[in-house]
Structures are given as structure tokens and as C-alpha cells.
Symmetry: C2
Subunit: 83 residues, 2 copies
């Protein structure tokens, strides 16, 4: 069993109200030094069998069609060490 991770983040030019809310809350909670926050999604997919380039292509297609909205988000796919 191998874990493939898909990180989905709002594109840099897209306003991210959730991230801005976190950024605004930090000083109120006594935290300083953070100049920007972006909030996105993380998907952990457990894949049976070996993760070949074909499998990664399939995961990229899932990310494009189901896990992200390519108009406002970009994604990154990477393989994690075996669980």
C-alpha cells in the first residue's frame, strides 16, 4: 500500500478568504511574524500495488476532474514513503 498525496491550493491571484481570516486571527491570539496565510486541501490516497507513472497520471486526472477546481486552484501530486 502506497500513499499518494494531492495538495490543492488556491491560485496566487485568487483571493483566499479562509487564509485571510486565519491571518487576521493570529495577532489577536498573540502570534506575530506571519505575513501571509493560504488555506488549501490535502488528500491522502492509499493506492494498492506499485505506483507507476501510469498510476500517477491517473491520480493527476482525478485531481483535475474531482479533487480541484482548475479555474481557481492548482494541485501538486507526490508519493509518500510506504506506510
Amino acid at each position: 500500500m502506497t500513499r499518494v498525496v494531492v495538495d490543492v491550493m488556491p491560485k496566487p491571484e485568487i483571493l483566499d478568504p479562509q487564509g485571510k481570516a486565519v491571518l487576521g486571527a493570529l495577532p489577536r491570539l498573540g502570534f506575530s511574524g506571519v505575513t501571509d496565510v493560504r488555506q488549501g486541501k490535502r488528500f491522502e490516497l492509499e493506492v494498492a500495488g506499485e505506483v507507476t507513472e501510469d498510476v500517477l497520471d491517473q491520480v493527476r486526472q482525478m485531481a483535475e476532474t474531482l479533487l480541484s477546481n482548475p479555474v481557481i486552484e492548482y494541485f501538486e501530486v507526490h508519493v509518500e514513503a510506504d506506510a
Copy 2:
């Protein structure tokens, strides 16, 4: 400017309906080979200045108090290469 990433995921023993919904949708979209999906959150924090162990401790406190719900979620903090 350094990017610190906080990954927040539902604990393994916690039901993850969003992940289950994705898992259920995959075969309907023609994808096979994925046996489990968990959905969590990813925060990208831009930190001014050097990221010392003190700064990372602060980020861990933010993750514990603001970014995650420690009852049902766990988190991981890591530093990304300079932007």
C-alpha cells in the same frame, strides 16, 4: 521569506465523510486502484525572517489552537524551501 506548511488531517480513528465521498466517486468516474481517501487541510504560512526552532514552536502552537481541532485532527509542521 520562508514558507512553513501545516498539514491537518483527521485522526485515523475518526470517520472522514469527505474522504469517503471522494472514494465513492472515483469508480463512477472510471478510476480504480485507490483503496482509501482521507481529506484534510493544508496551510501555507509565509514567515518573515529566519525560521528558528522558536518560530516552529510558535507555528505548532498556532496549529494546536487555531488551525486544527486536536480532539479529532492531528497536524504536521514542516518548512518548505525558500520561495
